[in-house]
Symmetry: C2
Subunit: 337 residues, 2 copies
């Protein structure tokens, strides 16, 4: 069975046509007469013919494969974006080649090189910050590239306004009378999304005549445990904040847990706001106030944009998707304000 895979020439012989015709039957069926096409298809089906992707890629220069490089797959955010990307691509016969770099720009460079070598037809990356070498590699390849979450004004991008997200979270809390607001952010190194969210929050506070001093900002690993730890640190300050912003929802949920574990009540004793809008955030208790980010849509649009670029259709240089504050129970007016 496995001895001698069926190849295009076998189908050609079986159908009594030339290899060229079989090739056309696959890629450009409209060029063939109905009769020939039917005959070739019948032969292909009968023999169980499966085109060899490597050979097709080599001969045609297109691999029908898109590469995606994310910080990690093990994140609800990127997992969802990739899932919708993959689903969108699959409808057009594209496959997704994924790599992760775990917040290392060197690893990202290596991943780009690996994917470029594998002949992807397009590439999706997260964020705008990267090693100059990586950018050079990307540019030199001439391949369609789409940046997500953050754009750099250089490559095509599907983005959200991370700074606005941070700002919305902060403004919401300021509007509720909070004056002392803390923030838990992801490690800012090689993570422009978190930096922008932090700066957005800082800007909102500053505009309100307040401030977000470094003492009220803690950097944590992007996990729920990180959120708990960050919350603990902030609550143990001499003058703890009355409200907390999580750079990602996971942090905010960690705050909910940590506050609960300390016998505090959210939102009575502490207001908490997240950024992301995870499904889960609607279901924790109290329901998490968060800045919703259309994560699935980002993946979906990245896929569509990439396919359009491959087809040499014009695309928006940068597609900015809206973020939106969703108020739930975890935030409330500061008592006595």
């Amino acid at each position: 069975m496995s001895g001698g895979r069926v190849k295009l020439s076998d189908v050609a012989r079986d159908a009594g046509v030339s290899p060229a015709t079989v090739s056309r039957a696959i890629a450009q069926p409209e060029l063939l007469s109905a009769e020939t096409l039917a005959r070739v298809r019948a032969s292909a089906l009968r023999l169980g013919y499966l085109p060899d992707g490597a050979a097709r890629a080599l001969a045609s220069g297109r691999s029908m494969t898109i590469g995606a490089i994310v910080p990690t797959l093990d994140s609800a955010i990127f997992a969802r974006a990739l899932q919708s990307m993959q689903a969108t691509l699959a409808q057009s016969g594209y496959l997704l080649l994924v790599a992760s770099h775990e917040a290392s720009s060197a690893a990202e460079t290596q991943a780009v090189r690996a994917l470029l070598g594998r002949g992807v037809d397009g590439l999706m990356l997260v964020g705008a910050e990267r090693a100059p070498e990586t950018t050079a590699l990307l540019k030199a390849s001439g391949l369609p590239v789409v940046l997500t979450w953050c754009g750099d004004g250089h490559f095509t991008a599907v983005t959200i306004d991370n700074a606005l997200a941070g700002r919305l979270a902060a403004e919401h809390l300021i509007g509720l009378g909070h004056r002392r607001i803390g923030m838990i952010a992801g490690h800012l190194q090689f993570n422009d999304r978190q930096r922008a969210r932090l700066e957005g929050a800082r800007g909102a506070l500053s505009d309100a005549g307040l401030s977000l001093p470094d003492s009220l900002v803690v950097e944590q690993a992007l996990t729920l445990a990180g959120g708990r730890a960050g919350c603990a640190m902030l609550l143990e300050l001499d003058v703890p904040p009355t409200a907390l912003i999580g750079g990602i929802d996971l942090f905010a949920i960690g705050c909910l847990e940590e506050a609960h574990a300390r016998g505090m009540t959210v939102p009575d004793d502490l207001s908490v706001v997240g950024i992301d809008g995870l499904d889960m955030s609607a279901h924790v208790s109290p329901g998490l106030t968060t800045v919703h980010v259309p994560t699935g849509r980002i993946g979906n649009l990245a896929a569509q944009t990439l396919m359009a670029m491959i087809a040499r259709q014009p695309v928006d240089r940068e597609r900015l998707l809206p973020v939106e504050l969703v108020v739930r129970r975890s935030s409330q007016r500061l008592a006595g304000s």
Copy 2:
């Protein structure tokens, strides 16, 4: 820049050697003299040579690519497994080509065909149940295949004992005096993991002289909202169960939320046990009692097994990983038992 990518023959010319030598410098450097190797490497580096994966794949028959087909990427479970797979593979220069089938066996067949066509060197699949056509395709390809979570005694597998997981959850509750236990399971169609977990729980109850009637089992979509809905249905029965088993942790967490929303206290009014052992489960309140599944390890081992099979090394036909009950606060002895 992008005009005319550097190819192997360019490097050969630049280094003053034959193409064969350059090829060897990449794949079997030990065959070359140190001097030649250095010269070739210098040329390759200077010219920025990047081997063409499609050409290599075509000529060598190996693509250095592994395929993975999961129900969805948008799940903490599969995302984690894929992340650890990808990380493991990347260390050996392999890339991961992913596809999802959203619980459709037809979509799985299509994905297998697509990946096979793309010339993957090995394939990871979830579960043992699939269309006969898919199995035939897999067998005919002669490719290394590793099944995960469930094995079928046919293909190599990295599994857990899903029935045992269900059993452990149920036995724990039985041991706490619960007699009326409900279960929320994922849709059982094309999901042998959920079926096995349900049957395991049923077996434990039956062994204890109890039963798990269909009226106490609800099927839900594998989301937190599904868990809440399932919990609501069960709690609204005339004689509601005193304890609930979630076929996945997400269900159990949904139960926690739903119970809370109804003013019930877990575990005083309802005991809840999950299966999976999500990170999150340790942090919700009350902490979720769950049967821990080594999800990351599954991905890791699947990758290692696949690479071993590709290298024609002997591998265990089925590697059964242990599951373990982790008791936290969400379950307690039934009052008055």
